[in-house]
Symmetry: C2
């Protein structure tokens, strides 16, 4: 994974070197703070890798990569307001450190800066980059609204959940990869394979995240274990458990959702979700999306394209043994 | 002003005919509601008029016009959240009718739809349209932040105030006009004249708005008279009054700012601001920007361009006798 580290370092330098205005301080200090919080920078790395497949130097694909990363950060700032999240990457969120108004406006500003990156492409590639960026951004907003809607809904189907995470988190990975292909003037078929690889990998990653939230090693995972269970969040794990409990007339699922939020509830869920087959079913779903992602890579390989780095990255992101 | 009515009708039809998704309902119903609230549609009309100067049919300039109008509506939805405004155009604001989260996200979405309009220009004009749109949008955000900052500042200078309204409200008028020139493949000098005309007209219009807030006929103005005075808002009128009071050691200004917010305070301000010369000074400033706007039109006319409609519009917007 040496290559990935190099990409990440290059990106971090580009992000910290971004030219932003200074005034008003409340606006730009905020952006600089948030962008300095780091993160895996997975999405822009995908653009750089994808561009490289088509011999686009990172100095050329960097602007597209940054547009994706700035958009992602914009959506995090606004999501944190909506979710009233106090902490992001171990530091106070923008609306906590400043206030909601400044967070709202600095999010807006970051979003414009994302578009401003695209202006670096002044040729025939710009219309398609802009169109795909917009379409993806609309979907991300739709996903966030579905996610908020689900909180107050009694019943959410598995397919509704998958569609929500596809929109909210996965299409941006697809777009990040497609950008490399657009820069490389590739046809729709190749763009589609890369996009599908990204979307499927994104869904697999999100399902893994749901599973790790309950079964992950807290030290490795870096989050409180069981947060989703404590708030009865309708994750795939939760929906599979509900479905299996209904099939088997097993009352333990309903009991779980009514338990007080404490460590006992988390332990109970760990055992129940395993016994009832929800963990296994979620893993199968995750593997299904992973395999679909790999299928798209194979189609690209059959066209003689070098996808080794993407394959490595996928293996790195998705742990097949959980 | 028959021509303007025709433009407005055409725009209203285009806006109500906008193709938007349906799901999630909470997001798109919100947009449709807000866009149906109307407004003068002054900004997109400027783009249509400007385009016509360079023989661009309204069917071609409509997308640029809509991008400006959708951006403007996005900024209103977000401003209303920040200002906690209950009413917009006589109807409940989005965050009042739904909630702040939905307002935030539907604002974001509307902003993306603004960019999506620009994708209709797939040729060499797109990079410049996108660049100028982004630069303007960044300035509008800066203006809104300065406006919020001013609320808690003890002292705001006149030039700081003018810079704030230039950013918050006027550059978008300039951009709306410049878009017509970009579509018409005009050189930078002509683009600049149109932009400057719009910015100066916008500043004059905002100063007029400040004066009308206190001296306007409530029926014609359509707002509660004296709202700015009641909240001690640092408008140009207020700043001029403060400056003149300090010059003349007149204690009545300080007394006014400490008065309870009621109709007596408004009457007191009306008399004081007139006696102390603040109304006259504000009118002079307004006329100065109006003349500057006209100067730019004259330069365009000297190049043989037909600017009659813009001249009419300026006269219609700015009442010289107040």
């Amino acid at each position: 994974m040496n290559g990935l580290t190099q990409y990440a370092t290059y990106l971090e330098n580009q992000i910290s070197g971004l030219k932003l205005d200074d005034e008003p301080r409340n606006l730009f200090d905020t952006l600089k703070y948030f962008l300095s919080l780091g993160g895996k920078r997975m999405r822009p790395i995908l653009t750089l890798i994808s561009g490289e497949i088509f011999s686009i130097a990172k100095e050329e694909s960097i602007h597209a990569a940054l547009s994706i990363e700035l958009f992602h950060n914009f959506s995090l700032i606004h999501d944190d307001i909506m979710d009233e999240a106090p902490v992001r990457r171990g530091k106070p969120t923008v609306h906590t450190k400043w206030n909601s108004n400044i967070a709202l406006l600095s999010g807006d500003l970051l979003y414009i800066e994302a578009y401003q990156q695209l202006v670096n492409y002044t040729d025939h590639r710009l219309p398609l980059l802009l169109k795909r960026f917009n379409e993806t951004a609309i979907e991300v907003c739709q996903g966030q609204q579905f996610d908020m809607d689900f909180e107050s809904m009694e019943t959410v189907s598995e397919s509704e959940y998958i569609e929500m995470i596809r929109l909210k988190t996965s299409v941006l990975l697809g777009c990040a990869l497609e950008f490399g292909a657009i820069l490389g003037n590739q046809d729709e078929k190749i763009r589609r394979n890369l996009y599908e690889f990204g979307v499927s990998l994104g869904i697999a990653f999100q399902i893994q995240d749901d599973i790790l939230d309950l079964y992950g090693d807290p030290e490795l995972f870096g989050k409180q274990v069981g947060g989703d269970v404590l708030s009865n969040k309708k994750t795939l794990l939760f929906l599979k458990a509900k479905e299996n409990a209904q099939k088997n007339n097993d009352d333990r699922f309903r009991q779980l959702t009514q338990m007080t939020a404490n460590s006992h509830k988390v332990e109970h869920a760990k055992t129940l979700f395993e016994e009832i087959g929800a963990k296994e079913a979620s893993l199968q779903a995750m593997n299904g999306y992973y395999d679909h992602a790999m299928g798209n890579l194979e189609q690209l390989e059959q066209k003689g394209l070098k996808t080794e780095t993407l394959r490595e990255l996928a293996k790195f992101l998705i742990t097949r043994e959980l």
